[in-house]
Symmetry: T
Subunit: 143 residues, 12 copies
């Protein structure tokens, strides 16, 4: 069993900018922890970050035959990309949406999501820890 982890636009800056909002953990550190946790759970995991909507869609398509589930933090695309939503919906893999901050506490436009109703679950506001919880829950679900 293989899990795809996708990080959307601007998440490559994690830990370098606005640490008071997003914490000091870098994306590399998050991915390292996830790999470690995946090993413990006995699953394989691959992780990608991209600022390009099209690249994220290509990666989702490529996962269709190779992965069993997806964890995605679509960043700002959450609120604006029907194409990304359609990609998640098309490939038919169980997908969990993760947000580092509690998007419900921020600007009004961050409350609407094109992605939420094609995902099986949403975790928001638990920082980097949210990814690990998503991984655990996804693996349980797949088993």
């Amino acid at each position: 069993m293989r899990i795809l982890v996708l990080h959307g636009p601007n998440l490559n800056l994690l830990g370098r900018r606005e640490p008071e909002v997003y914490g000091k953990t870098t994306l590399a550190e998050i991915d390292a922890r996830l790999l470690e946790r995946a090993a413990e759970l006995g699953v394989s995991l691959e992780s990608h970050q991209s600022n390009h909507e099209g690249v994220l869609i290509d990666l989702l398509h490529a996962a269709m035959d190779r992965c069993g589930g997806v964890i995605i933090n679509p960043g700002g695309l959450t609120h604006t990309s029907v194409a990304l939503r359609d990609a998640i919906s098309s490939i038919g893999l169980p997908t969990i949406e993760v947000h580092l901050s509690n998007v419900h506490q921020r600007e009004a436009f961050r409350r609407s999501s094109y992605v939420a109703d094609v995902c099986v679950a949403q975790i928001a506001g638990l920082g980097a820890r949210g990814y690990e919880l998503a991984l655990e829950a996804l693996v349980e679900r797949l088993r």
Copy 2:
């Protein structure tokens, strides 16, 4: 350290009705698992269910001096109760909002929440497992 777990209206019916939507686990089973997990984490935990908005608010107030954090599934009150929101906000304890189903996939009125922006995090769509993840995350945060 003591954690308050609150279950809102209709959650007492869990496992008895609409198992295809909400699963077969009863509320008693969920609470039992949470107590077990709390013991492993070295914290104490108390759990209540009520169909009364006022009772839930009273319980939150009572927790103010006795608990360190709250896990709440406000059920239908999520979308209609400013009073509950004010109670969460007033007592000043870190609170995590949990929903069994992915509320974002259901009726439009379930997408708005009076509670979300006074909670530190939201977990939706992971069924009974969501409570356990919330407990882990809350304990980590409090430490």
Copy 3:
């Protein structure tokens, strides 16, 4: 066969206040007529009034295994209570919504209802007579 009749907030004042709007019939008189009519139809009937959302929900839950159908006038909760809606929906009994006045002729906020689309029918504007018609229709439907 047993029918539950529920009267929501402020309906206990019927006949005492604003008789030009709601008529002079008291709630006790309405219940008396309903009991009489139920006897004629060969069904048993129990009736409750409460100003507490939580009490109404508790009564609905209690009816789940004891009654075959529900007649409800949720009063002002019609327009504001998702929890009440969820209770009706959860117990899975056929429910008819009754309003004494024609709610469609009143303030704009009385036109929306959280309850209407989980009920099988709605009768509005026929005063106390509406309850009797609801009872007849519900009994026919259950047979």
Copy 4:
């Protein structure tokens, strides 16, 4: 005393199409039952169906001096015809609005009604039985 019963657009198809939604009763059967019930109640009754808004308005006008009350199921015109509303309002006869299905459970545009607030009452979701209840209630009111 004479009652006018009006059936709006598409109701002539009753019983022939979509019986799983609207039942197998035809409009002729509904009218036959209503005539029978009217005879029992000691009132006369005439019934018309038309797919033409203008014809329905003409019939309402013609009833002004000949009838004492109206039962109307305006079908799709419920949601779009101010002219029909004005006709009901102009002739000044007590009118009860009937819908076979619970319109509140269907598409959003079926929730708004131009007719509801010029009628004295609304019955929705009780199928053909709704007409009979309306007849009984209207006759009582007129007496």
Copy 5:
């Protein structure tokens, strides 16, 4: 002449929490001052706080024959309770709405009120002093 003073959800926490927003005065102190002022004005006064919508409605009903006017701070129920509005409207006593903070300066949802247009006046933003001004104005009006 007797005046009913009602304090809605969360107001029991006054003085204990968020003093920078709501001041250090406790609800007991407010009530004490009101009793004193009532004595000076030659009227009697009773005061209640509840976090339960249903209890507040019950208290309003009970006041119908015993009191001449009402001062109410409905807290979060201001924005969500049609049932409370109907209770105020039903008992027909002149009622003044009081808010400690200027609700018009806060979140958008606090700007709408189900209660405002069935009250004779509104005082907002004057802290605990607002209750006294309401008492003076209500007594003047009743004389």
Copy 6:
């Protein structure tokens, strides 16, 4: 030069119903005055009333080659008929919209008009006198 005058749904009831709103003048009297005034102005005039949207559209089409301008009171169709709007727009004759009452003082839905922006002018609130003023203004414009 020939002018077409069209009266929409329910205007045939003028003078018979609700005289406190619409006055005691009948439609026949209005048409008689208009014919008289047309004679004085040296133009011919034909007038029709119909409760049928389709008939009104047919009459507008028929006027295309025979009339120089139109005066129309579309009644309730003002607010709901795109087809009528398209008819006015298609025939390309200067058209003046007349309303007996000041539609801007009535229900919210009477404020929107599908017809207003394909007419050259609107006169509302001057009762039967509005037709005469429209006739004078239209004749002047055509000369």
Copy 7:
């Protein structure tokens, strides 16, 4: 009998600017014609133009005891001034609203009017001729 005619902001530019929209007639010419027509009708008339909301309100107040009716073209204030609306409403004189162009054919914001529902009638789209028709209708009404 004395009539007040008020021209709002920018109407002093009439005839000098955008003649293809507003025609070549100047405001002085309009006023001259109105004076002439008033003389024929045996009433006196005074006319003012101002670009100042406050001046228009002062003039309306001053008319309260000296005039029998008002003709007003509020220009851009039509859509933004509640104060002007209140002035018209307060002085209690029958008022007719005039617009040179058909405001219903222009920008969306010109469709809403704070003034329309406190006036007895509205004439729009008849150019300078609209004032004369308003004068005739107002005099008739006052007699």
Copy 8:
């Protein structure tokens, strides 16, 4: 196999008015071409135009047992007629919606359609050619 072609209000004016918008082709010419094309495709076809909503509904009902599919251009009724929508939906025949102009480039109210979601397809902006393409597609679909 028989196809019903329905042309709604104002389409009888095609080719006579506003040729710069709708082209010079008349409705008779369109129907002639469609008959020719139907013959080539080996299906029979009947075509009607009406300015009356009710007539269009009657024709749809009549087609229920005689035709295999429908091509409809509802003109202005597209945006206002729930009754027409219900007729299409009730008869259960595959229906294609055609518009001569690209309705999406015109007034905002032309963008909403009561008909679109009960039709199998929509063709807009291809002028008279759109009907032929609809015919080809419908015949293919029926085979």
Copy 9:
């Protein structure tokens, strides 16, 4: 200590018009009482009324260095003037907004206020008495 009292458009008519709505007290009487009450409280007070938005703004600016607080009834400008709001906000003096009637019981557009969230408090519905209460509260606050 000096207090500025500002009365906005149309308030000069107080007591002369619509006494059933606004009472018989004139503005001069209100100001006289306020002066008297100010003397008792040991503060000086100046009062102005204007129908001109610009004059009110000039007066606010002039108060910046001479007064300690402001009581304002902006009349119709409450709902339309961002400029007045900016003036209140710019001068930085504590300001209390007063309305004679309960604006929350009137037309929908009177519910929104540009001024409310830059004022420290709002008193509405207490008639002329509201000014005195505002004066007392403002003086207390300033001390």
Copy 10:
């Protein structure tokens, strides 16, 4: 004459996923048929698919001097991309918008389109056949 065919995000999955919604035809088969049909019509045709908004825009720019018209199915970008709209508008080539499914029957957000009003026509709901019809119509138009 050369035609550009553009397929937007996720269309590369055609035939592989959700065949019950989109059919079993693959994108390669659609393109093959289009090439064949283009040959019959005597025009050349090039076809591209991309999940990248930017790539689609680049391809449109490149077509500006090489192609005579465009057929585009923008997929999910239809509803979210102003940049794509601007690209179509900037290059000035006649463009036809194609959707496989009837977008009007799906989620509300699929009803709005940034692209529709800069295209000459729209075909929706005819599956792969829609492309061929678009090709025929576009070639006719260009000739």
Copy 11:
């Protein structure tokens, strides 16, 4: 060539109040710099500030024959004055709108502007420097 510079309500307070928001530069200093820059550019310039909508409109009218262009900062009137918009539009001079702060970063109601679409350009958020850039751009455009 002569340029009119207009400063709207509250801008006379510049430099005296809220320097942390608007800077320490006074309006007199801004005007002095603009005069200097105008001299360098070889144009004459006049500058006015008023808190009165009517005065600003009068000044725009007066500029019609004497100036070649306008720079305006309408302050709070930006969002509320159709009359000011009409004045700018009527005089037909190229006008540039300037805001000291970035209005797009402030309250929601500051995002809408009645003035923006009758101006040729908008500069916001550059403080006093914005006026100079506007002057340079306007002069270039006029040459």
Copy 12:
């Protein structure tokens, strides 16, 4: 000091298409002028254009450590890209938004901007000149 200049989708077509709207200046010419002006001001400058949202975000990230400020014309992405907004916000450099045309004079959807409130200023409607003014203002600000 180094300035990044970013041109979004479709701006590469400048000067080649729709010169009546956007002028004849090409993007190369704009960049040349900016380089020249930057040299005069003693700063270095780099400029990029891309039709790809992701590329623009990558370029902003790359500027974080190498540039002191940004000038951006996001083209159509202005209105649809939260990801671009987040990139600007994340890198923390002062950014000025430039639009060639006055976006406030165009379609409604161009009035909203995801970017405006994370930029320090906005210049719109001054054509290519707007970039130079932005450069001057940005350099001043950085010094």
